[in-house]
C-alpha cells in the first residue's frame, strides 16, 4: 500500500456504508429518546422521591458513570444470557445505550431541576396545582432548556460510543467499515472515510438538538 | 500645564456613538469630579484615558505624551503614569493585601522585592490598613478592599489617579472611610479624575465639576456654582433627582 492512497474502491461499497449509517442513526434515535426518558424519571426520583428511591437511583448512576460503555455492553450481551436473559445484538446495543445515557442524563437533568426558581413553584402552588402538574407544566421545560446543551453533548457522546457496538456484531457504521476493510485491505482509507462520516453525523446531531430546542422547547436560536 | 488634555474625543460601539466630541483639561493637582446619568458616557471617557477603551477620533494627551496607537508597549507606558481604581475593587483574590500592592512594582517596574515591600507597607499605612498586610481580600470588608485597591494604584506613583465610581458598590456606612482617603490624597496634591455619585463630596473636595449628558460635556465649572445655578434643564433635573 505504501503512500499510495486509493479511495476509488469505496464508492462500490456505498450500500454497505449506507446500511451502517442508517443503523447508527437508528440506534442513536431510539437510544437517545428512551435514554432521555429514563433520565427525566431518574432525575425526578432523585430530586423529589423518597429516600430509598434516591439511594437506588444514586447507586445506578454511580455504577454506570464509573464503568466503561464497552464493559456495560459486554455484560448485557454476554453476561445476561448466563442469567437467562438472551438478547439480540440490536436489542443489547439499544439497551446498553439507554441504560448508559439514562444514568448521565439523570444527573444532567437533575441539575436542571435543582436550579428551578423557588418562586415559580410557589406561584404554581398558590394556583392550586398539584405536584405532578407543577412538575409537568412549570418545572420540566424550563429545566430542560437550561441543560439542553449539556444533554445534547452527552447524546453526541453516546452516538460516537455506538461505534463499539460493532464488537457484538451490531451492523452499524464501524461494523460496515470493518467489513469493507476486510474486503479491500484499504484499512486507512476506509477508516478515514468512516471518521469523516462520524464527524458529519456528530455535527448533524448537534444541529438537530438545536432545532428541537428551538421548536419544541421554545429556546432562542443563539 | 494640563496634565490630561482631551480634545474632541469620539467613541462608538458599533453604530452607537457613546462619546460625541468630548474636550476636557485636567490641571495638575486638581480634583475633577464627573457626574451624570448612567449611559452618559462618563465611565467610558474615564476608561479611554488609561487605554481600557479605544477611541475612533480626537486626541488624548497625558503628561505631554499623546495616546497614539494602541500598541501594547504604548499602553504599558501610559499605565505607568495613570492609575485606576474600579467600582468592583478587582483585588487579586489569591494574593494578600500587601502582595496585591507589591505585584505591579515588582513585575512591571522590575523593582527589587524588598523595596516594593517597603512601598507597599507605606501605601497601606497611608490608607489606614498597615496591620492588614497579610490579610486576604476575602477577609476584608468592602471599604477595606477598596482602600487596598487605592494603595495598589498609588504604589505605582501615578501622575493622575482615575476613580470609576469607587464608592458605588459599597454599603453606605463604608463609603466614608474611602472618601476620607481620597480627601487626603486631594489635600496632598494628587491629580484626581473621579466619576462619582457622591454629590456632597464632589462639592466639598472637587476643584472642577463636569456634568456629562448623552456623550457630551453638558456643563462644567466650579462645583458650588454648577450645583446651585444649573444653566441647563438637564442638569437641574439631574441635581433635583439626586437631591430628592
Amino acid at each position: 500500500m505504501g503512500y499510495h492512497f486509493d479511495f476509488s474502491d469505496l464508492w462500490g461499497y456505498r450500500e454497505v456504508f449506507f446500511k451502517g449509517i442508517w443503523l447508527t442513526l437508528f440506534l442513536t434515535a431510539v437510544g437517545c429518546s428512551l435514554g432521555i426518558a429514563v433520565g427525566i424519571g431518574g432525575a425526578a426520583s432523585r430530586q423529589y422521591g423518597p429516600k430509598w428511591l434516591r439511594v437506588i437511583v444514586g447507586a445506578y448512576v454511580e455504577a454506570i458513570r464509573n464503568t466503561p460503555f464497552l464493559v456495560q455492553l459486554f455484560f448485557i450481551f454476554f453476561g445476561l444470557p448466563a442469567m437467562g436473559v438472551k438478547l439480540g445484538e440490536l436489542q443489547a446495543a439499544i439497551l446498553t445505550m439507554v441504560v448508559n445515557l439514562g444514568a448521565y442524563s439523570t444527573e444532567i437533568i437533575r441539575a436542571g431541576l435543582a436550579s428551578t426558581h423557588k418562586g415559580q413553584v410557589e406561584a404554581a402552588e398558590s394556583l392550586a396545582m398539584s405536584g405532578p402538574q407543577i412538575f409537568r407544566h412549570v418545572i420540566l421545560v424550563p429545566a430542560l432548556r437550561r441543560i439542553w446543551p449539556a444533554l445534547s453533548s452527552q447524546c453526541v457522546i453516546v452516538m460516537l460510543g455506538s461505534a463499539v457496538c460493532s464488537q457484538i456484531s451490531a451492523e452499524e457504521l464501524t461494523f460496515a467499515a470493518n467489513f469493507v476493510a476486510s474486503r479491500n485491505f484499504r484499512n486507512f482509507e476506509v477508516y478515514l472515510v468512516s471518521t469523516v462520516i462520524y464527524l458529519a453525523l456528530a455535527i448533524g446531531l448537534r444541529y438537530l438538538f438545536r432545532v428541537i430546542g428551538r421548536y419544541v422547547l421554545k429556546m432562542s436560536w443563539e | 500645564m494640563a496634565l490630561v488634555h482631551i480634545k474632541d474625543l469620539r467613541k462608538s460601539y458599533g453604530t452607537n456613538e457613546v462619546l460625541k466630541g468630548v474636550s476636557l483639561e485636567v490641571q495638575q493637582g486638581s480634583v475633577v469630579a464627573v457626574i451624570g446619568r448612567s449611559g452618559s458616557g462618563k465611565s467610558t471617557m474615564l476608561r479611554t484615558i488609561n487605554g481600557l477603551e479605544v477611541f475612533q477620533a480626537g486626541s488624548i494627551e497625558v503628561d505631554g505624551t499623546h495616546i497614539a496607537g494602541f500598541s501594547k508597549a504604548a499602553l504599558r507606558e501610559l499605565r505607568l503614569k495613570v492609575g485606576m481604581v474600579f467600582q468592583q475593587f478587582n483585588l487579586f483574590p489569591h494574593l494578600s493585601a500587601g502582595e496585591n500592592v507589591m505585584l505591579a512594582p515588582v513585575v512591571a517596574k522590575k523593582m527589587p522585592r524588598e523595596e516594593a515591600r517597603e512601598i507597599a507597607k507605606a501605601m497601606l499605612a497611608k490608607v489606614g490598613l498597615a496591620e492588614k498586610f497579610d490579610a486576604l481580600p476575602e477577609n476584608l470588608s468592602g471599604g477595606q478592599q477598596q482602600r487596598v485597591a487605592i494603595a495598589r494604584a498609588l504604589a505605582m506613583s501615578p501622575k493622575v489617579l482615575l476613580c470609576d465610581e469607587i464608592t458605588s458598590a459599597l454599603d453606605p456606612e463604608l463609603v466614608n472611610e474611602v472618601l476620607a482617603v481620597v480627601r487626603n490624597l486631594a489635600t496632598e496634591g494628587m491629580t484626581l479624575l473621579m466619576v462619582t455619585h457622591e454629590m456632597r463630596f464632589a462639592r466639598e473636595v472637587g476643584d472642577h465639576l463636569v456634568f456629562m449628558h448623552q456623550g457630551r460635556i453638558h456643563e462644567e465649572g466650579v462645583p458650588a456654582q454648577v450645583f446651585d445655578n444649573p444653566k441647563t434643564p438637564e442638569l437641574a433635573q439631574f441635581v433635583g433627582a439626586v437631591n430628592a
Binding site: Y3, E62, A63, R65, N66, T67, P68, F69, L70, V71, F74, F75, F78, G79, L80, P81, A82, M83, V156, L160, G161, A163, V164, S166, N187, F188, Y191, L192, S194, T195, Y198, L199, A202 | N50, G51, L52, K72, L75, R76, R79, L80, V82, M84, F86, Q88, N90, L91, F92, P93, H94, L103, A104, V107, A108, K109, P137, E138, R152, A153, M156
Partner: protein
Amino acid sequence: MSDISTWDIFRNLLLAARWTIVLTLTAFIGGGIVGLIVLFARTSGNKALVLLTKGFIELFQGTPLLMQMFLMFFGVALFGLDVPAWLAAGLALTLWSAAFLAEIWRGCVESIPKGQWEASASLALNYMEQMRHVVLPQAVRIAIPPTVGFSVQIVKGTAVASIIGFVELTKVGTMLTNATFKPFLVYSGVALMFFLLCWPLSLWARYLEGKIHGSRSH
C-alpha cells in the same frame, strides 16, 4: 478449562488492571502536555493557530475514540513502521485527552472575571505577566476538579484499546470468558475493577468541586 477458580479470575483481572493504569497515566501526562500547547495556541489570537487548534479539537471531540485508534494503528503503519497496539492506543488516547483537557482549561481561564484582566492591565502588566501572576494562579485552582473528573473518562477510554488488541482489563476479561464460559462472573469482575479505579476519582473530583464553590466569596 473450568478449573480456573474465581480467585484465579480475580487475580488475572488485578494484574491486567496494571496496564489500564499505565495507559491512563500515559494518556493523562501526555495529554496534559499536548493539551497545554493546544491551549496556548487556541488562545493566542493568531488566526492560523486558532483555526488549526479549533479543527483539532473538533476532530477529536466529534469522532469515536475507536476510530481514532484505528487510524493511529493503520495510519502509522503506512510509514512502514510496525505499530504495536500499545503505541496506537497510547497515541490516540493522548491526543483525545489533549483535545478535551484544552477545552476544559480554556473554560477555566475564560471564567476569570474581566475585572482581573482590567485591574492588572491598569497596573501596566503585559499579557504574559497578567497570565503568570494574576490569571493562571486563579485558573489552575478552578481547573483541578474538572481535570480530576476527566481522568475518570480516560480510565474508561482505555477499555476501547482492547478492541485493537491492547491487553488490559477488558481484553483479559474477554480472554477469561472464553476460557471459563462464565461471562456474568467475569464481566461483573471487570466492571467492579473499573468501578474501584474510577469511583474514588469521581468522589475526589466532587469533593474538590465543593471546596472551590464553598470558598468563593466574591
